[in-house]
């Protein structure tokens, strides 16, 4: 700062002090100032003290203001007309696609944002500049969207993310350093990623710190082994059966039960097959004995001597043991009878121990991720509507194991068989659980059933399902957009003041919005 400026600032401070104090307490004396300002100020001396002060204040403020110069910044100046790598490796999405994205970022129809991101990625397009900050902010909270967001950022988006520590997720991957020194959440995240990409390395890494981890963390890390689980994990898991932590032992046993080839599974299988025998003649029947005792090796393998409620109310002690043994036995053991899962499941129809057997197999199917068994069991319980079901058996988990196409077929079967399937809450749950768009066949059935439901309500207005009413909007996420015209026809069937109109409107609006997204990507992208 120049000396003149300092002197000027000093003059101003004197005026401010005098003004704060008041001229009643102390008459105002004009400060001195350099240059022309200094020549001007004394001309005010003839005025009253107050007038002099106010005028001097005005003059000094104006003088300072009019002479202000913008500062040279300490950072290096930008280079004019930069050349080098172009930032935009991907073309910008169309303006229409951009607007739809903006709408979703503002919370409208946000459920279908993943679809937008996937379409943009498929077309190799990027998010426009103005939407980048909000999208990156969203990824900060929505871990599940991050991978998809990364696809559409483009080089510019990644450059931007690198400028803001809060968007670090978009540019840096977690490293082994995070594992060693990071806080717990970062460590878990890193471990999960590593399990997905290099499960052996993950296991080795965990072994290096295993003894230092507290029991609850040990259990948590061990649970992550369900990602990329293989026989290579077996020795480590078997060692886990002797862990001090009870939860660690439980997780280890559960994981081992998912490995049919593990010696532990084989050990349990030798026990289980003692109690289940196939008598092939004259018609194949299953002979079942209950175990008398539970030996120590089985307890160590994770078989609980006492089951928890509510299943314990339904099963006696020994039946409970058998249920657990079957649940921990490789399903291949039963397939060795030379029968398919469907045939095996059919064997126990009306069997004395039907519930125990089906329940045990359901547990095994979940653990071993065996979709053929899941399908056989689901069909038995749902489409055939038969078979005793133990409490705690999760049909939802069985359904989740099914591959996408099988899920679709299974749902088609349910919808085509039952006369009023959309009033059943489980069917609705399954429909909303879909991981991908429904097949045209399934979608047709849904529309057909919806139509029937609407017609029923028209006849007797009290006959309408609240659950379907709330589920309907979700259906728009799975309905192929090509069926929009047919879906719109439903609206023409609605009588005036139908209880369905609002829900159907929401359904159609979302479906229309999805069609808009699809169309927005069919137009050629921007630049």
């Amino acid at each position: 700062m120049s000396l003149n400026k300092l002197a000027e600032g000093d003059a101003w401070q004197k005026v401010v002090s005098a003004a704060l104090l008041g001229t009643d307490r102390q008459p105002f004396t004009l400060p001195t100032a350099p240059g022309q300002l200094g020549q001007f100020l004394p001309q005010l001396a003839h005025l009253s003290s107050e007038a002099t002060l106010l005028t001097a204040a005005a003059a000094l403020a104006l003088h300072k203001h009019a002479g202000w110069l913008p500062p040279q910044l300490p950072v290096p100046a930008p280079i004019p007309h930069e050349t080098g790598e172009p930032y935009d490796d991907l073309p910008r999405c169309s303006p229409r696609a951009a607007r739809l994205l903006q709408q979703m970022l503002q919370g409208q129809h946000a459920v279908v944002l993943p679809e937008w991101l996937i379409l943009a990625a498929q077309r190799g397009q990027r998010v426009p500049e103005l939407e980048l900050p909000e999208l990156l902010d969203l990824g900060k909270q929505r871990r599940d969207l991050r991978a998809k967001i990364l696809w559409v950022l483009g080089q510019r988006g990644r450059w931007l993310a690198a400028q803001n520590p809060e968007w670090k997720y978009a540019v840096t991957v977690a490293t082994e350093e995070d594992w060693e020194t990071g806080h717990q959440a970062a460590r878990e995240l890193y471990f999960q990623d590593l399990r997905a990409n290099n499960p052996d390395r993950a296991r080795e890494l965990l072994q290096t710190t295993w003894k230092q981890e507290v029991a609850s963390d040990r259990a948590k890390f061990l649970e992550t082994f369900s990602i990329g689980l293989s026989m290579a994990d077996e020795p480590f898991l078997t060692a886990g059966l002797n862990d001090r932590g009870k939860e660690v032992r439980r997780v280890a046993a559960d994981l081992l039960a998912r490995l049919p080839d593990a010696p532990l599974s084989q050990h349990i299988a030798t026990h289980t097959t003692r109690y289940l025998t196939l008598v092939p003649q004259p018609t194949p029947t299953l002979q079942v004995e209950l175990p008398d005792t539970l030996n120590a090796s089985l307890i160590q393998a994770g078989i609980e001597p006492k089951l928890a409620q509510p299943i314990s109310e339904k099963l006696g002690e020994k039946a409970g043991w058998l249920f657990q043994l079957i649940g921990a036995t490789p399903l291949t053991v039963w397939e060795d009878w030379g029968m398919t899962p469907v045939e095996i499941v059919a064997l126990v129809r009306n069997h004395e121990w039907e519930g125990v057997l089906l329940g045990g197999w359901a547990l095994a199917a979940q653990r071993q991720q065996r979709s053929e068994w899941s399908e056989a069991l689901l069909n038995r319980w749902l489409t055939e509507n038969s078979g005793e079901m133990l409490p705690g058996v999760s049909l939802e988990n069985l359904f989740e194991i099914l591959p996408n196409d099988t899920q679709d077929q299974f749902l088609t079967q349910m919808l085509s068989a039952d006369r009023n399937p959309l009033s059943d809450s489980r069917t609705l749950w399954f429909l909303r659980q879909s991981r991908q768009e429904w097949s045209a066949v399934l979608a047709h059935w849904v529309l057909l059933r919806l139509e029937a439901q609407i017609a029923q309500t028209a006849q007797s207005p009290t006959n309408y399902s609240w659950e379907l009413w709330t589920a309907l909007k979700d259906f728009a996420r799975f309905m192929p957009v090509s069926l929009l015209p047919e879906a719109i026809k439903l609206q023409t069937l609605l009588p005036a003041h139908s209880p369905w109109s609002q829900s159907l409107e929401a359904f159609l609006t979302l479906l229309q919005f999805r069609q808009d997204i699809v169309q927005a990507f069919e137009i050629a992208g921007g630049s």
Partner: protein, 467 residues
């Protein structure tokens, strides 16, 4: 003004005759332009929700007029029509917002699906609107042609002026005494005083028919409670008000433009009719370079900055509207119009009124700006002749946004920096950075002497409004 600007406009402005213009423009309207017209965020959201083809029927267009019917909750559909050349809107819905969500939706459809608008003869309800519009335009033209014919008796006018002069003089005297009294007592206890202290003085100034002074006094209340450094800011503002009164007392001895500026500060400026009838019109191709709307207690004030491409002069249009009333005229960012403006007399004329305008065309090339030092030097010169400038237009070329903790700055290729307004949303700062991608851009904003409020950014062949 550089040659490139004129050339770029000319190659652009050689657009065909009136009928063709709508077609030429349609390709350039983008959703962003349309959404920028929304009166509020809710309207923008609802408009987007309705911008779906299945909600509309009978879409059609003729020349620059488009129309369609939108099925609402009622029995009869709403009839919506737009003249995209201005743009002007009309809708049969009862909404008080303007443009309403239907108008926005229809305009969005036009921007995004131009092909669905069939060229055909307009239905009666559209023709009717077009007729009333052209009649109104004729009337307006007539009115403007003979503005002074209705002036009342000059002696009565003189009497009224004299009466007001007396009132204002008394008000100015009273204010001076009050200011001097404050200084006599000292300012130390000011932050403990209630807002009423200032309100009382402000309403005295309203009574004295000096609303400009009332506004200046009200600003004192905010400054007194503005925290650290309040005493400097308060004294600056007190000095400023005192200077206005000082100048007003010797008004006749000052040059005419300075008189006019002082009158504006008092709040006794010329009426629009007086400005239009007494000041010369300035014709140019005016490019809308920035726009912002502030709402204060239901009064919406819209500031539209235009740059004359041949004269390199800025013009500021102020529009006011109450509540959800629409603004009378629409100026779209990035559009360029042959127009005549009339400036309010001032030592540094900025505020202007529209006299005549032709149809607007979009111009997406950036106008050429200055570097920071040149632009600030321009401001300093302007400030020296007109120290009442509150917002000064800065059009800056090749600047780079920079973040410094929570603050945002811009820097030009000479390394000179300017702080951006602390009022900008952090998201806007990041948007600015995203647009730049580390490369320099052209930026327009309002400089208040302390910081810059960015309004518009140009980058390559696009421009962006920062909201």
């Amino acid at each position: 003004m550089t040659l490139t600007e004129a050339q770029s406009y000319q190659s652009f402005g050689s657009s065909p005759q009136k009928d063709g213009v709508g077609v030429v423009m349609s390709a350039q309207w983008t959703s962003e332009h349309v959404l920028a017209l929304a009166p509020d965020a809710a309207s923008a959201k609802n408009g987007q929700g309705l911008a779906m083809l299945n909600k509309w029927s009978s879409l059609g267009q003729q020349a620059s007029v488009i129309w369609g019917e939108c099925q609402g909750s009622g029995k009869t559909p709403y009839r919506t029509q737009i003249d995209v050349s201005e743009p002007a809107f009309r809708c049969s819905c009862p909404s008080r917002k303007f443009p309403c969500k239907h108008s926005l939706a229809l305009f969005l459809l036009r921007a995004e699906h131009p092909n669905v608008f069939e060229a055909k003869a307009p239905p009666d309800w559209v023709t009717e609107w077009l007729t009333t519009r052209s009649q109104r335009a004729e009337k307006q033209a007539e009115k403007q042609a003979k503005p002074s014919s209705q002036t009342t008796d000059p002696s009565a006018q003189a009497k009224r002026t004299a009466a007001r002069q007396q009132k204002v003089n008394a008000g100015v005297q009273e204010l001076r005494l009050w200011l001097e009294d404050r200084i006599r007592q000292g300012l130390a206890t000011v932050p403990q005083e209630s807002y009423q202290t200032w309100d009382r003085v402000a309403s005295r100034m309203i009574d004295a028919q000096a609303p400009g002074l009332a506004r200046q006094v009200r600003m004192l209340a905010g400054i007194a409670h503005s925290g650290g450094g309040w005493s400097d800011r308060l004294l600056e503002q007190l000095g400023r008000i005192y200077l206005i009164t000082e100048g007003f007392q010797r008004l006749e001895r000052l040059p005419i433009p300075v008189q006019s500026d002082l009158r504006t500060q008092i709040g006794w400026s010329l009426s629009q009719e007086e400005v239009l009838s007494t000041q010369p019109a300035q014709a140019d191709c005016w490019l809308v370079v920035g726009q912002r709307t502030d709402t204060d207690d239901r009064l919406k004030t819209r500031r539209t900055w235009l740059l004359g491409l041949s004269s390199a002069t800025f013009a500021l249009l102020l529009d006011f509207a109450h509540g959800q009333q629409p603004f009378e005229q629409n100026f779209l960012l990035g559009t360029c119009q042959e127009a005549e403006f009339v400036f309010y007399p001032s030592a540094y004329p900025l505020r202007a009124l529209l006299k005549t305008r032709q149809e607007a065309v979009l111009l997406s090339q950036p106008p050429s700006g200055a570097d920071i030092s040149t632009a600030i030097a321009r401001y300093n010169r302007a400030f020296a002749v007109c120290p009442w400038l509150e917002q000064f237009p800065l059009l800056l070329q090749a600047v780079l946004p920079i973040r410094e903790g929570d603050r945002w700055l811009i820097q030009d290729v000479q390394g000179v920096g300017l702080p951006l307004s602390p009022r900008i949303d952090p998201k806007q700062g990041w948007q600015l950075l995203a647009l730049s991608g580390g490369k320099s851009l052209t930026l327009f904003g309002e400089w208040n002497g302390t910081d810059l409020l960015p309004l518009t950014v140009w980058l390559e062949d696009r421009f962006y409004e920062l909201k």
